[in-house]
């Protein structure tokens, strides 16, 4: 009663053409809220652009590498001392035996080009060349022993200092205390670049190659850890999808509603929020210490990530099962379908887009996960060898993409810093591709009801 009298007195009759104070306040509040919203979205977009920009700016360099064209004389006196061409004899010459050949080859180029340098002899070429070069030539000679005695032109990796100099990472002032390279080397690099001997090219070895030791940043690639990630994802997919979908279908369609299912449901939701490192230590205890599976193996990584991904898959699968209208279940039961027939013939196909999307998002999350891998030894393992065969792919030690990136970021040489950013670009490309697949599948399977 009092309310009615009050509002009656406070709201004098106004025409529609004049806005009253109350309406103006409401309109202003709405306008302010819209401004907040726009500001929030703007801030988000700004940070996204900064993030992507800095990743690209820092990482693009890793896809380019500096190479030196060196004609190498495969000296028979040094490579095949017996002169018989016997492969066992040739194998006795280690990588160190090839190093002088490469250095002399480059020194010959310098003199041929008529470049004046203060460097005295072939030994000084060491700073320009990557230690990976001689190994590459040795592999070539062992594969083609008949080429001994010829001069073969190789495209060899430049040292990481020279690479950094051409990319602007290494400066003349910055190398004052550097024992690996001197200003004279940089002068020579400039001259060789002008002559076309030193040049930058696309670095496929970064994508497909193996990791290298700490001192050979120019040689390191993501390829082996990519295989490690692939086998991990395969494990996750093969385990988490069937287990997750079966668990969700049972909980959603068959399980009775009682205290036990309530407890299970609450716990699944909670598991989705458990820090991933907890799954790591669980994996260490259960799979490595108890089940004695090998350390650093993608199988163990995959098992740990399966545990981590299961709640995500179960939650999204249950949500998409819930979204199927109950009238479809009634319809199937009404014509005499059994519970299981109604689920598998009607409910599951309709929930499929949601299940697939959830699974792929879960996989993408697992692909980028680093923390649990710390505890099972996949971080810190130097993945220099490709696994031999599928069984080895699961069982032999390997790294994974995010673990490899973390490993590179830890290393001292700034050349590795660039590679860490480059690795992030590759990882993001994979995540983007998986999300695109999720969207495409969703579109393809989506049906109206």
């Amino acid at each position: 009663m009092t309310d009615a009298t009050h509002s009656g007195a406070a709201a004098p009759a106004t025409g529609l053409l004049a806005t009253d104070a109350r309406t103006r306040r409401r309109n202003a509040a709405e306008k302010r809220f819209r401004a907040y919203g726009l500001a929030a979205i703007g801030t988000g977009l700004f940070f996204l652009v900064v993030l992507l920009g800095s990743i690209l700016y820092n990482g693009v360099g890793a896809f380019q590498q500096t190479f030196i064209n060196v004609p190498v004389y495969l000296d028979p006196e040094r490579l095949d001392k017996t002169g018989t061409g016997d492969i066992a004899e040739i194998q006795k010459v280690s990588t160190f035996g090839y190093t002088p050949l490469v250095q002399e080859g480059l020194w010959a180029v310098v003199q041929e080009q008529g470049i004046t340098t203060e460097l005295a002899d072939a030994n000084d070429m060491k700073a320009l060349l990557s230690p990976a070069g001689p190994a590459e030539i040795r592999d070539f000679v062992l594969a083609n022993p008949d080429r001994i005695g010829e001069t073969v032109e190789f495209r060899l990796l430049a040292s990481s200092r020279v690479d950094g100099y051409l990319k602007g990472r290494v400066s003349r002032e910055g190398i004052a205390d550097d024992r690996n390279i001197a200003v004279e080397h940089l002068d020579l690099t400039d001259a060789l670049r002008d002559a076309g001997v030193v040049h930058k090219g696309f670095n496929s070895a970064f994508i497909f190659g193996a990791d290298a030791s700490e001192s050979r940043a120019e040689q390191a690639g993501l390829g082996v850890s990519m295989i490690g990630s692939f086998f991990m994802m395969l494990t996750v997919l093969l385990l988490a999808l069937p287990i997750g979908v079966a668990a969700s279908i049972y909980l959603e369609e068959f399980a009775p509603q009682n205290r036990i299912t309530d407890i299970i449901e609450v716990n699944i939701s909670n598991l989705a929020a458990v820090p991933s490192i907890v799954f790591g230590i669980l994996g260490l205890a259960a799979f490595i210490q108890f089940a004695h599976l090998p350390q650093s193996a993608p199988l163990v990584g995959g098992l740990v990530l399966t545990l981590m991904t299961l709640p995500t898959i179960i939650i999204s699968t249950r949500a998409s099962l819930k979204a199927v209208p109950p009238s479809i279940r009634d319809a199937a039961l009404g014509v005499g379908a059994s519970k299981m027939q109604s689920v598998f013939h009607h409910v599951l196909p309709l929930a499929m887009p949601g299940i697939l999307t959830g699974t792929i998002i879960g996989l993408a999350q697992a692909l980028g996960e680093t923390a649990p891998l710390l505890l099972i030894g996949m971080v810190g393992y130097i993945a220099t060898n490709y696994p031999e065969g599928i069984a080895a792919g699961f069982m032999s030690p390997n790294s994974a993409m995010p673990a490899q990136i973390y490993e590179w970021a830890k290393r001292a040489d700034p050349a590795y810093y660039e590679r860490a950013w480059g690795g992030i670009i590759i990882l993001l490309v994979f995540l983007l591709a998986m999300n695109v697949i999720a969207i495409v599948l969703r579109r393809k399977f989506e049906r109206r009801w």
Binding site: A331, A332, L333, G334, V335, G336, W449
Partner: protein, 265 residues
């Protein structure tokens, strides 16, 4: 036109199809159906009427054990079809539902082709040995559903693309495809416009020649038009059950009279 009965309303058949004795239904603590006793006749349309929440849909869903899917629902008493207790432990509800078809309030075709909608039931019950037999069953069902002429040229197009009335007739065709003996309809016309409703009502009357039809409806006019027997439910009790003409013209119970004249409901 809509107020006059479509066909004659006398009960022709006298065979009892479904017998219910002292049926009680509980939802948890709620006593939803109290002491219902009813004999439903074969080849007859029986209408269940009553205000919302009176238990008529609940009772209908007891007749093919659709309430089994609700965890907290308990059914007591006897419901027998052709003298066989359908709540006997040996009865498989899946087998029962093939015998007692159901059409729901909202048309709910599967998001599949018209053909697959109708063929689904016969397929899972193994009623056809080959494609030709299945085609025959589908055509027969669609003809009984009075929709064959409208869809015969587009059997492979999605069932969800039909209009509301067509969808409901498709659902009826789907229900009769499994050759049921009883057809339960839970407010089959509540989502349809008057023209589609008239078509479905005409269809219900035709179905009477083959099946025992039980229909739940909110529209008393509809009950008067299509049914031969009417049961009036109120607050979980079966208040009155008798021939439709008698219920609507000369009800015994004062509650029935109040409801059909619009004083309660």
């Amino acid at each position: 036109m809509y107020d006059s009965p479509l066909r004659k309303t006398e009960v022709e058949a006298t065979d009892t199809k479904i017998v219910a004795k002292d049926v009680q239904v509980y939802y948890g603590e709620t006593h939803a159906i109290k002491d219902v006793n009813i004999d439903i006749l074969d080849k007859t349309v029986t209408a269940f009427i009553g205000p919302s929440g009176c238990g008529k849909s609940t009772f209908l869903r007891c007749l093919n054990r659709m309430n089994d899917t609700i965890d907290i629902c308990r059914v007591q008493g006897l419901i027998a079809i052709d003298g066989q207790d359908i709540y006997d432990k040996r009865v498989d509800p899946v087998q029962l539902r093939a015998k007692v078809g159901m059409v729901f309030q909202k048309p709910n075709p599967f998001p599949k082709s018209i053909y697959d909608n109708v063929a689904y039931g016969p397929r899972i019950h193994g009623m056809a040995k080959n494609k030709a037999e299945l085609d025959e069953i589908v055509e027969k069902a669609l003809r009984r559903g009075a929709i064959w002429n409208e869809v015969k040229d587009r059997l492979q197009s999605p069932g969800t693309g039909l209009s509301g009335g067509q969808q409901q007739r498709l659902c009826i065709a789907r229900a009769v495809a499994t050759e049921p003996e009883v057809l339960l309809m839970d407010e089959p016309c509540s989502a349809l416009d008057p023209i589609a409703t008239a078509q479905v009502e005409e269809l219900i009357d035709e179905l009477r020649t083959n099946y025992s039809v039980v229909i739940v409806t909110h529209s008393m006019q509809q009950a008067a038009r299509v049914s031969q027997k009417t049961a009036f439910f109120h607050l979980g009790n079966l208040v009155e059950y008798g021939e439709t003409s008698k219920i609507f013209t000369n009800p015994v119970d004062p509650r029935t009279e109040s409801y059909i004249t619009g004083r309660i409901g």
